[in-house]
């Protein structure tokens, strides 16, 4: 009945940022930006600036001394890393106040933040260089679902009914109703925004990681983090069941099973603080 393109075109305000968010976003994506430039951009929005500074001072980063200025926060966390942190903050700020029927926005973001922190934690245990990248992928992986519910409006009930009737996962119900799921919508949106191909792919295939053609590891990480967040009931984006993880996907991530306990422990430790900072 509707195509993905139609979803994206229906409400321009949803798909693009306004005002300072847009400026910050553009500046963040400018490869020529230096520490001073990024700092200036973030300072354009006092809320984003404050949240960024609070995050830099959070236990997640564990810097031994208080970071007083945004400039210092940017230089300590790193230019690459700060970009993803600020972007995810903006996305949350942008979407959290939208009136979406059928979605508990608080719960949705708690889930998204959990997947973000878990993805980051997995990347950390993999000793990847830029782990904030995975944090951003995790935060934004279910954006498609927000768009989907927003546009379905009252028809969201149909989706829930299918899920209840079929006792299936929500994304399977989406496919039954629309022919595509929130992952397809979300990835299309991210592509529109000019996000990296890795993020687009990780979002597109986060329910089918084995199909990811170019970035299977990133995709697998988000997939595993999503399942963990669901099984631990750390917020919800509408799934009632835990999407199963295949052994091949665990292999792709490459960590031993016992390490996941540490990963979850590490994520839990910081999760509440992150939610407080981001959802205040």
């Amino acid at each position: 009945m509707t195509s993905i393109a139609e979803f994206l075109e229906q409400d321009d305000s949803l798909c693009s940022f306004s005002g300072s968010y847009n400026t910050i976003f553009t500046r963040l994506n400018d490869p020529t930006a230096n520490v001073a430039g990024i700092t200036e951009a973030v300072e354009l929005d006092p809320t984003i600036a404050a949240k960024t500074l609070r995050m830099a001072n959070s236990s997640l980063y564990g810097f031994p001394e208080p970071i007083e200025t945004l400039h210092r926060a940017v230089s300590i966390i790193g230019l690459q890393q700060i970009r993803q942190i600020v972007m995810s903050t903006i996305v949350i700020q942008h979407f959290r106040d939208l009136p979406v029927i059928g979605v508990d926005m608080e719960s949705f973001w708690r889930h998204s933040i959990a997947v973000g922190v878990l993805s980051r934690s997995i990347a950390r245990f993999r000793r990847e260089a830029n782990i904030e990248r995975l944090y951003l992928y995790g935060i934004m992986h279910d954006l498609g679902r927000l768009l989907l519910f927003l546009h379905l409006g009252q028809r969201s009930e149909e989706l829930i009914n299918i899920r209840e009737r079929e006792q299936c996962l929500l994304f399977e119900a989406e496919r039954e109703l629309l022919g595509f799921d929130h992952a397809a919508i979300g990835s299309a949106l991210l592509e529109e925004w000019g996000m990296t191909p890795a993020q687009v792919e990780a979002t597109r295939y986060h329910h089918a990681p084995e199909q990811a053609p170019a970035f299977p590891v990133e995709t697998a990480i988000v997939h595993v983090a999503d399942s963990i967040a669901n099984s631990l009931r750390l917020g919800s984006s509408g799934e009632r069941f835990v999407p199963p993880v295949t052994p091949e996907t665990f292999d792709r991530v490459g960590l031993e099973m016992p390490v996941y306990e540490d990963i979850i422990g590490h994520a839990r430790k910081h999760l509440e603080q992150m939610q407080t900072i981001l959802l205040d």
Binding site: T32, G62, F63, P64, E65, S75, I76, G78, L79, A129
Partner: protein, 649 residues
């Protein structure tokens, strides 16, 4: 679509951006080249396995990536502390990088940076400067920290190539780890090699030695035997193989148990080993022996070099005698004798197997003959060497067992038949062979060094016999005793003799010592020395067997002798015609000239006695008058002043 127009500012901004991106592209391409060359960092060959070299290679790569003002590498040591392993420009900038790092460590920022797997930029105490930290770690282990200081303005340009830095340092961490692992592997391998070598030595020992006694086993013994044969092939030395078996060992085993049997084997092995050690010592280490436990209660002894059959017999007799003893086995007395079989190379076989087989056959025979003894494989050797040996053994006991006796052959005045004295002659009253003359055992006694003991016994016995006459000293007859060449070499023969005579209270003139002419010729100096000394002590001296020993006139003249004894061979021929008397005549003439007495021995016919008298010889001994007789008879004749029949009578 209408063309869009840009303001000059926008154009400038775009130009700047293009410029920046071109620069970045170039920098990135260059960074990739550097990255591609970092395979040199790997610590995977002997050449690049030292941590110093790995760090040096790392610094060289990074130097091409980042024009830092200073760089340093800290390495985590085994005690978990960070040590400065390299600094590009120590003590050139104020404050020194090492000092700044000290402060970062104190603040905890250093520790924090260890857990960030990317470059972190921290404020420097110097304005417009940044400190970059980057952990050097593998996926599982932190190995160190890279530190650099930059001007802040430059930092942005490096942003593009910082991922490359991460890669380079990741390689460095793995190179260090690899070097560590190789070193550990090397150590392990060396340790393993040492263990293997020790174990192969032990294994070899196990394979070639008996575990109960730790003696060489049959395998090693056969090998030594073969080697000995090879060594002695074509040489006159003997190689003897003695197989030795405990008699009735099975009985010990059955009655006292296997542990007792083992203990007995162990003790016998020890005794045999000690015994062979002693034999080796005695031989001045010329003797080579190998003792082996061949299995069960069977031992083997390999004897090499410098022994001769006599020595082998002596050794094996020792073995038989000394191992046949009572031993305490777990507080039980166990008597165990042994039987030996002997095979001798080259007589009894040319190779180890044949010798072993023949020694075994000989041992079997020894067992058949009643155990506790030995047999040679070659029967001939058995009869000869065994009899000889037995005699030797018995001779050793003869004095103690009172089996030696003296017989006296009177010395007679030719004209009157009056007994002037006698020659004391030794006899061995052998328990089974009967009365043996000295020719049967004196050589043997000399070999065995029993001769001194026997010589002393003879003198003492003569003294005892003289004492038993119970007459006044001046009436005692003169008794001659024989002195052998070997006795002559005794350090103080004269002194010993003088003491014995003195103790017995016999006047020295009653003792005459007879030394053969050939002995004097062989050792004129010794003879002269002893004769002079004995003469001083008052004993008289005779040259025995005169005429057969080629003594020079000079020697005779020098020698302080009293009497010449004309050898029996000349006396025997006296009645064979005129020509034969010429030598005797010459001897007598010479003796007279030198002022010596003359006595003829071996006189058997009256005619001989007659001729001697004609030739001016007045004393004789021989069967014509009397064979050597036991002292009792001689004493009777003396007491009764018997005149023995003379030629004229």
């Amino acid at each position: 679509m209408s063309p869009s127009y840009r303001t000059p500012d926008e154009v400038n901004a775009l130009q700047e951006r293009i410029h920046f991106l071109e620069e970045a592209l170039e920098a990135n391409a260059y960074a990739m080249d550097v990255l591609a060359s970092t395979t040199a960092i790997f610590g995977d060959t002997d050449r690049n396995r030292s941590p110093e070299l790995i760090i040096q290679n790392t610094i060289e790569a990074i130097r091409r990536l980042l024009p830092a003002q200073d760089m340093a590498v800290y390495i985590l040591d085994n005690d978990c502390s960070f040590n400065l392993a390299h600094q590009e420009h120590p003590d050139t900038l104020e404050p020194d990088l090492a000092g700044i790092v000290e402060q970062l460590i104190e603040d905890g920022q250093f520790a924090w940076a260890l857990h960030q797997n990317h470059p972190v930029c921290l404020p420097s105490p110097v304005a417009e400067e940044s400190i970059m930290l980057h952990v050097i770690s593998t996926r599982t282990r932190i190995r160190g920290m890279f530190v650099a200081r930059f001007r802040q303005a430059q930092l942005q340009r490096y942003e593009m190539i910082l991922s490359t830095l991460t890669m380079v340092l990741f390689n460095t961490a793995y190179a260090l780890e690899s070097a560590d692992l190789f070193q550990m592997m090397d150590r392990r391998q060396k340790a393993l090699q040492r263990i293997t070598e020790r174990q192969s030595r032990e294994l070899l020992h196990h394979m070639s030695h008996d575990s109960l006694t730790n003696l060489p086993n049959r395998m090693l013994f056969s090998d030594r035997l073969s080697q000995a044969i090879e060594r002695h092939a074509g040489s006159p030395d003997h190689v003897a193989l003695i197989l030795l078996d405990l008699d009735n060992f099975k009985r010990t085993n059955d009655s006292l148990g296997h542990r007792a049997g083992d203990e007995l084997i162990r003790k016998v092995a020890q005794d045999l080993s000690d015994l062979l050690d002693q034999a080796r010592e005695r031989s001045g280490r010329r003797l080579r022996t190998t003792l082996s436990r061949l299995g069960g209660d069977e031992f083997g002894i390999l004897v090499e070099d410098a022994l001769g059959l006599e020595g082998i017999v002596r050794l094996v007799t020792d073995v038989v005698r000394k191992t046949a003893t009572e031993r305490q086995i777990f507080e039980q007395p166990v008597v165990s004798s042994v039987s030996c079989g002997i095979a001798v190379y080259p007589y009894d076989g040319e190779n180890a197997d044949t010798l072993l087989g023949n020694a075994d056959a000989a041992m079997y025979e020894a067992k058949q003959r009643g155990r506790n003894g030995f047999r040679f494989y070659t029967q001939d050797l058995n009869s000869r060497t065994f009899r000889h040996f037995e005699l030797e053994n018995e001779l050793g006991q003869a004095i103690a067992n009172d089996q030696l006796v003296l017989h006296y052959q009177p010395k007679v005045a030719l004209d009157s038949g009056r007994i002037l004295g006698a020659e004391a002659l030794i006899r061995w009253q052998h328990p089974t062979l009967g009365l043996l003359p000295p020719s049967h055992f004196i050589d043997l006694a000399e070999d065995m060094t029993l001769i001194e003991e026997i010589g002393e016994w003879v003198l003492r016995q003569v003294c005892r016999d003289l004492q038993s006459l119970r007459v006044a000293p001046e009436q005692l007859p003169r008794i001659a005793i024989n002195v052998s060449a070997r006795q002559l070499r005794q350090p103080d023969l004269a002194g010993d003799f003088h003491r014995i005579i003195g103790d017995a209270g016999i006047p020295p003139r009653c003792i005459e010592l007879e030394l053969t002419e050939s002995t004097i010729v062989d050792d004129p100096q010794g003879a002269l020395r002893v004769f002079q000394r004995l003469r001083e002590l008052g004993m008289s001296l005779a040259v025995d067997d005169f005429g057969t020993g080629h003594a020079s006139l000079m020697q005779l003249k020098q020698l302080p002798a009293d009497t010449l004894k004309i050898d029996r061979s000349f006396v025997m021929d006296l009645d064979q015609g005129d020509g034969h008397s010429q030598i005797v005549r010459a001897i007598i003439l010479m003796a007279r000239t030198l002022g010596l007495d003359v006595i003829a021995e071996g006189v058997e016919t009256a005619r001989q006695a007659e001729i001697l008298q004609e030739l001016d010889c007045h004393t004789a001994q021989g069967y014509l008058y009397s064979r050597p007789v036991p002292f009792g008879e001689f004493r009777t004749w003396l007491r009764d002043a018997v005149a023995l029949p003379t030629a004229t009578a």
